[in-house]
């Protein structure tokens, strides 16, 4: 779908997913790295059989071509300007101010490339009192507010063990770039898109980031569950081989799931059939007016916990589907690697690396049909360092001798 467009991707480990999202939709995305490799190539984890090869970098450069170019040199910057003649988008995530020092910032480039869409990803944004703050996954999650909301109430707040913040920002960089493309269709001109990872992280709060300003109470962290004014519901329940998500509650939004759970408990003989008379959609109102027993729902929860504790994640998933319960397993990375759901959706793809290894990757998260035909996703593996130098500099009209010269000068 995006095959008419070219993206020059200058990002490092911060935001490298953005270009991949556009590559997955068909854009020609060229990852540009310094001659000694992006700092992203140093980010863990690493392939077991190739401890010098970053899985992180491979994960988010799949689908792109890759070249090297030393932007610290005049010759390297000239090459980039020649590439920009052919490009629609530039995406970068350098420390704020660095692109200006290199004279490759938006303001410098806009006159020569008025159609260029120039997207900057940074921790806090390109301007403002915190623009020069040093970012990190943890600090961004803290500044966006989700970190304080996450964790057990008797311990320090806790992050997700696979860093998340730059991924959210990258997702916004891709969307913001596409909005700028539509603006260009209207005006004929490109523009600067300034993405702040702090702001992107604020999305991971279910709107709670607005709580204080709306006059609502500050959210409190309570595991994977909910705690409001001291009332806490644990988010998970123990099962025989791990955990399930069990956020059972009464009320108009989810009470019908509790009714379904009663049906299951009756069918297995864990509760009396008389409990089927209760309707948990309207239960809270009837408790308030004295028509229903306030102790009933907590007893039901307790019974649920006892019953699920002796069953496996897989058993509970099948029961959940059969009875339409609001209940799913907490899958581990190991579970996901053999998930029949992902298998049947064609999620995984085998890509052949430059050194001939077959590596299995997660595919794009969307199955797309264009004009009645499945969209043809690229099966391009992540590029080795400088893998497409000859190809791409050749496309620019450089001769083999000129490319060899650049190589010997260390520009590429």
């Amino acid at each position: 779908m995006l095959s008419p467009y070219r993206v020059l991707d200058l990002t490092d480990e911060r935001g490298v997913l953005a270009g991949q999202m556009l590559a997955d939709l068909g854009a020609d995305v060229i990852q540009i790295e310094p001659p000694d490799g992006s700092s992203g190539r140093g980010v863990a984890p690493f392939f077991a059989e190739r401890p010098d090869e970053s899985i992180y970098w491979a994960a988010y450069t799949r689908g792109k071509r890759g070249i090297t170019c030393d932007l610290e040199t005049e010759r390297g910057r000239e090459l980039l300007l020649r590439l920009l003649e052919t490009a629609d988008f530039l995406i970068e995530s350098a420390d704020v101010g660095r692109m200006t020092e290199l004279q490759l910032d938006f303001e410098t480039l806009r006159e020569r490339f008025p159609q260029l869409i120039y997207t900057s990803i940074s921790a806090f944004g390109q301007t403002g009192p915190k623009a020069r703050y040093v970012g990190s996954d943890l600090a961004i999650w803290a500044a966006g507010t989700p970190l304080l909301m996450t964790g057990d109430d008797d311990r320090a707040p806790v992050r997700v063990s696979q860093p998340q913040a730059w991924g959210h920002a990258a997702g916004d960089a891709a969307g913001g770039s596409m909005l700028a493309l539509h603006a260009r269709h209207q005006s004929g001109r490109g523009q600067h898109v300034d993405v702040s990872a702090q702001v992107s992280a604020a999305q991971a709060t279910l709107g709670q980031v607005l709580a204080h300003q709306l006059g609502a109470v500050e959210p409190e962290r309570y595991g994977g569950g909910i705690k409001i004014r001291g009332q806490a519901i644990r988010g998970t329940a123990d099962v025989a081989d791990g955990y399930i998500v069990l956020l059972m509650g009464p009320g108009p939004a989810v009470g019908h799931f509790a009714n379904h759970a009663v049906q299951w408990l009756v069918d297995i003989g864990a509760v009396e059939p008389a409990l089927l008379e209760e309707n948990f959609v309207t239960y809270a109102d009837r408790v308030a007016s004295g028509q229903a027993d306030a102790a009933l729902f907590p007893r039901l929860q307790e019974t649920m916990r006892e019953q699920v504790a002796t069953r496996t994640k897989q058993e509970m998933l099948e029961i959940s589907i059969a009875y339409d319960l609001l209940l799913v397993p907490v899958l581990t990375i190991a579970d996901l690697s053999v998930s029949p759901q992902l298998e049947q959706r064609g999620f995984w793809r085998e890509l052949e690396h430059a050194d001939g290894r077959q590596v299995t990757y997660p595919g794009p998260p969307l199955n797309i049909v264009v004009d009645g035909e499945p969209f043809g996703y690229s099966h391009r593996p992540p590029p080795a360092l400088g893998q497409h130098n000859a190809e791409i500099y050749g496309e620019l009209g450089l001769t083999d001798a000129e490319i060899a010269q650049l190589r010997s000068e260390g520009v590429i």
């Binding site: 999202m21 702001v199 299995t360 997660p362």
Partner: protein
């Protein structure tokens, strides 16, 4: 005939937004911000969960009080339709011919039963773009699993990775799969719109929201799937940074806790931190990781006697990544968020004023303004039915009598 057009890059683009809660509506919110005309269709009987969870205006629960609903539906026009009623299905069909893009998030198969799925709608409008977004996708053995993003977090593996190794999962906060999913959907819809404008071809997008979160776990998935190691939750530990964690700070008046996040990525940063906290500046990452408990204890002692704001400023001045763990009150007073005009106030018929977040990016040439707060229940029923579909008063009375609207 149509509703008043918006302004911005998507002016003139028409969206029928039948999605609900967060993952889907967030996409339409962005499109409305950038000028699209978005009609948000709601069921008058099955209440949108976003309306019944907070944060609420004035901390008072109510279907017109939800800041979450307001945040993901601002700028849209509101229509109620009970799609179980045949007359409502007819209205929906006519609106999908009006629309460039239809977004929906029913359980897989529900729209097909009403002949309102892509297979049927694209026969009425061959160049239709449609997004069907569910937790696990349209096909597969588990496509009927019910759930919100909180269940998605379990199914996407992220819940298992948030928390402490000696305890059950302790996070993430809320329905996590609702956060990455709209980014993937928006990007793909805008690509599809670009493609349709060039070629006249329609596009169908089947989104599994959980798979969006899996993109953010791709390194861990690739590692294990290819015979490497299994990532498990490890608190705030990071294999390439030390110290790396959340440390207690002096309590400001009226607070029961206060924390600062500190992430030391390089030896140079460690030397700066060691100088401030009187630690051994010579330790390498490996040596620091080996002494992590004692480093964390010493650092906690140092942060405990200072405010989070002071630690943040001192460390950032020394080139070390640090930030206080902002409360939502801190966010309201954050000078950086204020600089970006992130929180926006809109006049509101019931609340006088409401507050929403701005977009997640700043466009230098196309600044946006959100035209109106999220619609109240059925707020624009009459206007939409008259101005978009040309119904008259008698038609609307008949439609209402059929039960299509309430």
């Amino acid at each position: 005939m149509t509703l008043p057009e918006g302004s911005g890059p998507l002016a003139g683009v028409k969206i029928l937004d039948l999605s609900w809660i967060v993952a889907g509506p967030t996409v339409g919110r962005v499109m409305a911000d950038y000028g699209a005309t978005v009609i948000r269709v709601e069921s008058p009987t099955r209440i949108d969960t976003a309306r019944v969870v907070g944060p609420f205006h004035g901390d008072v629960a109510g279907v017109e009080h939800s800041g979450l609903y307001g945040n993901v539906n601002a700028g849209k026009w509101g229509l109620t339709l009970d799609l179980r009623v045949p007359e409502a299905q007819g209205i929906f069909r006519r609106l999908s011919v009006w629309a460039d893009i239809v977004c929906e998030s029913f359980t897989a198969g529900v729209l097909a039963r009403w002949q309102l799925d892509y297979q049927h709608l694209h026969q009425l409008k061959p160049d239709l773009i449609m997004l069907s977004s569910t937790l696990l996708g349209q096909n597969g053995p588990y496509n009927q699993v019910s759930g919100f993003g909180s269940q998605g977090a379990g199914m996407a593996g992220i819940q298992d990775l948030a928390g402490w190794p000696d305890r059950p999962p302790a996070g993430p906060f809320g329905p996590y799969t609702d956060y990455p999913a709209p980014r993937f959907a928006l990007t793909a819809l805008l690509a599809a719109l670009d493609h349709r404008n060039r070629t006249g071809q329609g596009v169908f997008i089947d989104q599994a929201q959980a798979e969006g979160t899996l993109q953010l776990l791709a390194p861990a998935l690739i590692d294990y799937k290819n015979g490497g190691s299994l990532l498990e939750r490890r608190g705030n530990d990071d294999p390439q940074m030390c110290p790396h964690g959340v440390y207690p700070c002096q309590l400001p008046a009226g607070r029961t806790e206060s924390w600062v996040a500190i992430a030391v990525a390089t030896d140079a940063q460690w030397r700066s931190l060691a100088e401030l906290t009187e630690a051994d500046a010579s330790w390498s990452l490996e040596q620091r990781r080996a002494r992590q408990p004692q480093i964390d204890a010493a650092l906690s002692a140092w942060t405990s006697t200072r405010s989070a704001a002071e630690v943040e400023e001192k460390l950032q001045s020394a080139g070390i990544s640090a930030h206080r763990l902002s409360t939502t009150e801190d966010a309201a007073n954050d000078p950086q968020l204020a600089h970006r005009n992130h929180f926006r106030r809109l006049p509101h018929a019931l609340h006088g004023e409401t507050i929403i977040e701005g977009p997640r990016y700043i466009h230098s040439a196309t600044p946006i303004t959100t035209a109106r707060p999220a619609p109240q229940y059925g707020e624009h029923n009459e206007q939409i039915l008259k101005e978009v579909l040309g119904l008259d008063d008698a038609d609307i009375i008949a439609l209402a009598a059929s039960g299509a609207l309430s």
